[in-house]
């Protein structure tokens, strides 16, 4: 009886495996069959993959909500006292469960790709091959869940709390622990835990779609850019979620970890950032191919690299290889992922080499001083950036594997590489959109550049005059304002000319321009987001201030224009934890602006207290208090002042929003064309 939920979960996994196998067989047969089929042959396998993955996810969530500790994963990652939100998010808080979420997202994408395909009649050989490729990926992940990383293993031994031994067979003699261990304390400290991983996964997994269509096009020998055109929106959606997921991860780190930072270049962050960089390069170079027919081979390479990096990232973060080369063989999931990565890379690159004749010898660039040339610079910078991130992450692993020594590759290495690359990227991002296609007339470029450049120089000069001498900040202001001014000026200038010609108002012409080329203006929104982000990083890191104070109740300290008063300690019993903290009043200019409660959370299953910082967010900056220690007589509080750090989050989300704009604009354009039918 006890293993009912586990049984349903396992059934879901098996159904999805069956669906994947069927998808592979039907996909590849249809791809090479000239007649006698249409998209309906994929109805059953696509539905089975989606249905099976959904069943597995629902089973896991039901088990978590029902505190079914007979399932080992639940016994080890949840507890009856865990709050509802964190019970739900426990489904992806550890390895085995996160694969279930991964599988569900894959299932949704498989089904959606099929649903879009089914809207058009006839034999879609490219689509069939792409579904076959997606079937292979799906099969791999569900096979992991059925074998080496089974989230539905039942518990066969316990020491009371959590599960000590487990078995994959649902009919084994099940032992149900009295109570679960609960989630890792860090993962039940902030609600962002519930949305950050799913968003990241939608981004990660969504990049399977362009990869599958690229490989599909090579398989069925389809020339041209059909695979690119058909996956344009998919890539954009996936990229948007990946961007938002990364930004949310930074926000989570800032809100939870208590050291005031949001990005540490740690391998888990790098694992999501490297694919993001290459996917960004891909978004740009795809635009060039669609417009000018160049970079065909390069786009294949980029999309293969993007997908391979998502698998590499999964391997790095799931196999334990980061902690030590030798720990990764302890779990068979590491080798499985590594083999799959090899299979993906060798298979797709080998296929690409075999089909090289498909890729037309690209028409050469007319001139490097052109939009195409700027796109090439963008691609060079982004891929070198990704290369830096990958090399920095893999280097210690490789050195340890060969020599047995550990070397540290930390923030200084990345910062030293990323800052110049980042500035070069922002400069290219400012200039690129104003350089014409084919061969640019430098006179035209200068005319477009002059006024915005003067504005940007003026802004930076103003900063110098008011006393700013920090080079990073000044360059950031210069480039950031340049990006924004160029985008706005470009829009205004075009509309102004058009309005003069057509005798309309500049405002309505601006709206018309925005609607006429959504991908371009979506890109510009993204660029403005990057400018805001870069400014936010420069200001918040270079002008930050920090301090540490030991205070008794009633005592005050002055810090960064604030008066911080320790009022009294507090202690609260929550079902899942004990919170001990300090009530702190913050005054500026004599006025009470907020009462903060930095605290330490103690969990029964963990000996370590988890600091939970308190932040007063404002337009001028964040006052960030982290409790270091507390006893009856005094507290030690670490204080940080991060000016304008909201610009980091705002900029990041604006970047993601840039990818939403084309979809929204296209929909509203369609609605204008054909009024809603009831």
């Amino acid at each position: 009886m006890a293993a009912v939920i586990a049984g349903f979960g396992l059934l879901g996994v098996l159904v999805a495996i069956g669906g994947s196998l069927m998808l592979i067989v039907r996909g590849f047969t249809a791809a090479f069959r000239r007649e006698g089929w249409d998209a309906s042959v994929f109805r059953v396998p696509a539905s089975a993959v989606l249905g099976g993955s959904l069943l597995a996810m629902v089973a896991l969530e039901v088990g978590l909500l029902a505190d079914d500790f007979s399932i080992a994963y639940i016994a080890n990652n949840s507890a009856s006292t865990t709050p509802l939100l964190y019970k739900l998010s426990s489904a992806w808080a550890a390895l085995e469960g996160s694969l279930v979420l991964w599988g569900l997202v894959l299932g949704v994408f498989v089904f959606a790709v099929w649903a879009v395909m089914a809207r058009s009649r006839g034999m879609d050989h490219l689509g069939a091959a792409a579904l076959g490729v997606m079937g292979i990926v799906t099969l791999f992940f569900f096979a992991l869940m059925a074998t080496v990383s089974n989230p539905f293993e039942v518990c066969t031994a316990t020491g009371g709390f959590g599960c000590a031994a487990e078995s994959a067979l649902p009919w084994s003699t099940v032992v149900t622990p009295a109570e679960g261990l609960g989630p890792n304390p860090l993962l039940q400290n902030h609600p962002l835990m519930a949305i950050h991983p799913p968003m990241l996964y939608v981004g990660y997994v969504g990049l399977t779609v362009p990869f599958a269509f690229a490989v599909g096009a090579l398989l069925v020998k389809e020339r041209g850019d059909a695979w690119l055109r058909r996956t344009r929106s998919w890539t954009r959606v996936a990229w948007m979620f990946l961007t938002a997921g990364i930004v949310l991860g930074g926000l989570w780190s800032y809100e939870v970890l208590g050291w005031g930072g949001y990005w540490a270049w740690d391998p888990v962050e790098n694992a999501s950032f490297a694919p993001w960089l290459v996917a960004t390069a891909f978004l740009h170079s795809a635009a060039v191919q669609l417009r000018r027919g160049v970079l065909q081979a390069w786009n294949y390479i980029l999309v293969i690299a993007t997908f391979s990096l998502t698998i590499l990232g999964t391997f790095l973060t799931r196999s334990g290889v980061i902690q030590s080369v030798h720990s990764f063989t302890q779990s068979p999931i590491g080798p499985a992922l590594l083999w799959f990565l090899m299979f993906v890379m060798v298979g797709s690159l080998g296929l690409f080499a075999m089909r090289a004749n498909l890729v037309s010898s690209a028409p050469r660039l007319d001139s490097l001083v052109s939009r195409e040339g700027m796109f090439l610079i963008n691609n060079l910078l982004l891929t070198v950036f990704a290369f830096v991130v990958v090399v920095g992450t893999l280097y210690p692993i490789v050195v340890e594997a060969i020599t047995g020594d550990t070397v540290g590759v930390g923030r200084p290495f990345y910062d030293r590489m990323a800052v110049p690359l980042g500035f070069a990227l922002v400069a290219a991002m400012a200039l690129g959109p104003i350089v014409p296609y084919r061969a640019a007339n430098l006179r035209v470029v200068w005319d477009r550049l002059r006024l915005p450049l003067q504005i940007a120089l003026g802004a930076a000069a103003l900063a110098v005059v008011v006393g700013q001498r920090n080079g990073w900040i000044l360059v950031s202001i210069l480039l950031g304002v340049l990006v924004v001014a160029l985008a706005v000026h470009q829009l205004w200038d075009r509309a102004y000319r058009a309005a003069a010609k057509r005798e309309t108002s500049t405002g309505s012409e601006m709206l018309r321009a925005l609607r006429a080329d959504p991908p371009y203006w979506g890109g510009q929104v993204g660029h403005i987001g990057v400018a805001v982000l870069v400014l936010g990083i420069a200001l918040s890191s270079n002008l930050s201030d920090e301090g540490a104070f030991t205070l008794s109740p009633g005592e005050s300290a002055r810090f960064a224009d604030h008066e911080i008063t320790y009022v009294e300690p507090f202690s609260r019993e929550k079902p899942n934890r004990t919170e001990i903290g300090a009530v702190v009043e913050v005054r500026r200019g004599g006025d009470l602006i907020s009462t903060l409660e930095p605290r330490l959370n103690r969990y029964p299953t963990s000996t370590q207290s988890i600091a939970s910082p308190a932040v007063d967010t404002g337009l001028r900056g964040d006052l960030y208090l982290s409790l270091a220690s507390i006893n009856e007589t005094e507290v030690r509080i670490e204080t940080f002042w991060f000016p304008f750090i909201w610009m980091v989050w705002a900029g990041g989300f604006l970047v993601a929003l840039g990818a939403v704009y084309p979809a929204v604009a296209r929909r509203s354009a369609r609605e204008r064309r054909e009024p809603a039918r009831v």
């Binding site: 050469r364 007319d366 090399v391 280097y395 020594d405 070397v407 290495f413 002059r450 000069a461």
Partner: protein, 134 residues
């Protein structure tokens, strides 16, 4: 005002603003506090997991930060201070791996990649020119 005069004034304003910015960056000598922070960010806290002494709340890290601050105040150069720590703790105390020995390749590889990319891009253009002559 003639078009020509306007262009001249525009150019002068642009150059003047650029000059202010360049001078502003040039005379910006990093303050002592900035130096302490950037040094603290390069030195690994020996009792933590890959954390710089700047960020670590550990006693040892705090004490090391104090040493950095004292030496900066005493007028020592960044190299002298880094040497002081590497003499006592070895090269492993540095978070940024040295541009030598085992980690040389780490620093070189990105530049190799960049150079390869530049060659590739320039190659596309050069091959084009003879075609245009035909």
């Amino acid at each position: 005002m003639s078009e020509r005069l306007r262009r001249w004034i525009g150019a002068i304003v642009t150059i003047a603003l650029a000059a202010v910015v360049v001078v502003g960056i040039a005379i910006g000598d990093p303050s002592e506090e900035d130096r302490v922070r950037s040094l603290g960010d390069r030195i690994k806290c020996p009792v933590c997991q890959g954390e710089p002494i700047l960020d670590s709340p550990a006693e040892t890290a705090r004490a090391m930060m104090d040493i950095v601050a004292e030496r900066v105040a005493a007028g020592e150069s960044d190299e002298q201070i880094i040497d002081y720590f590497t003499e006592r703790y070895g090269d492993g105390i540095l978070l940024d791996p040295p541009v030598a020995g085992r980690t040389l390749l780490l620093w070189v590889l990105p530049f190799v990649a960049l150079a390869a990319g530049v060659v590739l891009i320039l190659g596309r253009r050069r091959k084009h020119e003879p075609e245009a002559d035909r």
